[in-house]
């Protein structure tokens, strides 16, 4: 009765061959990959050094002012400012800047690639039916999976971290750009057409502005997903707040983990609130 419990056969998949294939791809395209690595590194460095150049108290003031402008309440501004200040107060400021620069770089690349893709698939049903299942798959995959190709192609460090974070975080901006444009009131688009707008005029002057709130919501989600991924990406050697959490987990240092974990949460809340509030402002105007 053994056969009931055993598989009839076992395929021997040559995983080593796959590894080899990817590796040889990496070797063969060394020039391109090297170019990308340099580019991303340069981008990260310039973002980081810009952030580093700004004195901490200016960032605290900026957060205060943004919080105040958004809610018209001094209290909110103060709460935001104190939250940011406390990250610096526990000595995590430099790590926070590292994390922030990876997030900013990833979001910028996501926006640069994701927004045009979203616009294109909103205009073409065929393209949309190809891209949407890919997006679905990308979102259901466990985040660790993105680390593997990134490591294989770029090794360890912050460049593969940006790469993995971008792949993970690009989904919502594509999705919501597409959705937002498709949801624009049919009659409004027809009105634009009836006055003799070209396709591009209708898109730029009517559809995208009308979809603005939804697109911004997508950007906010992209930002939050990048923030989540950047912590995970510390596993492939991206230094920053995530790395601090990882180290404390590995060494079972609960206190250190709690402090750095809280800093991650604070940064996430600030990014979320400050980007979301802006969307709401725009919505009310409409």
């Amino acid at each position: 009765m053994n056969w009931l419990y055993q598989f009839p056969f076992k395929l021997n998949i040559d995983t080593a061959a796959i590894d080899d294939a990817v590796r040889s791809f990496a070797v063969n395209n060394e020039a391109i990959l090297q170019f990308m690595r340099r580019g991303l590194n340069g981008l990260l460095s310039s973002i980081h050094s810009t952030l580093d150049f700004i004195p901490w108290w200016i960032l605290v003031i900026v957060v205060f002012v943004l919080g105040f402008l958004q809610t018209k309440k001094i209290k909110t501004g103060i709460v935001y400012a104190v939250m940011l200040f406390s990250i610096g107060a526990v000595g995590l400021w430099p790590l926070m800047l590292l994390t922030l620069s990876i997030v900013i770089a990833s979001v910028a690349i996501s926006l640069l690639l994701g927004f045009p893709i979203g616009v294109l698939i909103s205009m073409n049903d065929r393209a949309s039916s190809i891209v949407r299942p890919i997006l679905d798959t990308m979102q259901t995959m466990p985040v660790f999976v993105y680390l593997i190709p990134a490591v294989l192609l770029f090794g360890l460090g912050r460049v593969p971290a940006v790469m993995a974070t971008t792949i993970y975080a690009i989904v919502p901006i594509v999705r919501l750009t597409n959705l937002g444009i498709r949801q624009v009131n049919e009659e409004v688009v027809e009105a634009a057409k009836s006055f003799g707008s070209t396709r591009i005029q209708a898109m730029v002057k009517v559809q995208i502005p009308q979809a603005f709130a939804t697109i911004m919501a997508g950007l906010n989600q992209t930002l939050m997903m990048a923030m989540a991924m950047v912590v995970t990406a510390s596993m492939i050697g991206a230094s920053g707040l995530g790395m601090e959490v990882l180290i404390s987990v590995n060494r079972v240092e609960v206190g250190r983990g709690l402090v750095s974990g809280t800093a991650v949460v604070i940064l996430a809340i600030l990014l979320d609130r400050l980007s979301q509030g802006w969307v709401k402002d725009k919505e009310e105007e409409a």
Binding site: A191, F195, G196
Partner: protein, 405 residues
Amino acid sequence: MEERKAIIRVENLSKLYGRNRQEAAELLKKGADKNEVLKKTGVTTALWDVNLDINEGETFVIIGLSGSGKSTLVRCFNRLNKPTSGKIFYKDQNIGELTKKELLNFRRDNIAMVFQHFGLMSHRNVVTNVEYGLEIKNVGKQLRREKALEMIQMVGLEGFEYSPIGSLSGGMKQRVGLARALANEPEVLLMDEPFSALDPLVKRDMQFELLSIQEKMRKTIIFITHDINEAFKLGDRVAIMRDGRVVQIGTPEEMITNPADDYVKEFIEGADKAKVMTARHVMVTPQCIVKTHDGANRAIQEMRSNNVPSAYVVNDQMEFVGIITLDGAMKARDEKLKVKDALITDVKMVDIDDTVDQVMTMFADAKFPVAVLKGKKLRGIISKASVITTLSESSFEQENEKSEA
């Protein structure tokens, strides 16, 4: 009627939605109706074999039940819909043969549309919405702003130029829609149920606004509505549609006096006939007419033999001058006077083309039946009773028919 030039000519226009269009067309050619075709082939007949001419400068109203193809027809005029077959000519240019570029220019320069739910862009304010059509034509900033402000003033929205769209009421929004369409100076204005979303009082205002704008601009307006009173109020001519076909085209008067079939009759039943029918339709010939130079005796004789208490007095050119009563005539006879000396000139007069609605207002303080004139000549008289019987007659007829059916 004077012969006018057609600005839009529709020839055998059809629009079918679905896969088996060929098969559906065969059935339709054999005379099948919309339901039958839908059942047998799954094809929706939005338009079938529509033929019509729309004249330059007229307001042409299209009316019909929901789903009868009104929007589809109008949207073929600016190619928001592509017809399945048939041709549409705009001043001898076949619209179906326009290249992409020509079509854009046609939409930019010659034809504009007003939408039921306004179709305004909420991210722009009033003036930038109105400017839109000019903006995409690359009209200079200053020029288009001037034009837009002028249009906004014309539709009565001055003071709201820079208001966001969201802050306007429905009626104001549609004024913006109208201003936006007119800013392009189109020759043809398409209006797809523009006032349906408005409440009745605002709707009346807007109808009035449209009539007075039309008075000034003399555009060709193609107007869709569900409301027969709106159709008759605005339309120079009206087309009634049913299941994708045009059932009847004519002036409101022609429709009321001569409806093509029961479908049209049913539509017209809801119409306020007093606003469409004119004095011509309700007047009767005066039984008793005397001339100014007749003697009083002759007047009395006339009235007695016709058994009426008053007579209508005309001069030699048949021009109406007044009324003489039996009492007045007898007094005149005693004093040896003529008819013209006993005249009552305080008589209400209406033009033969005045609507019954206008005639009715005369009855309020009229002592005698109202005189109907063409120019100065007497053509008939209208009593209150004759108006009421004529207006109710047509609906009696219909009710009788219904109970027979």
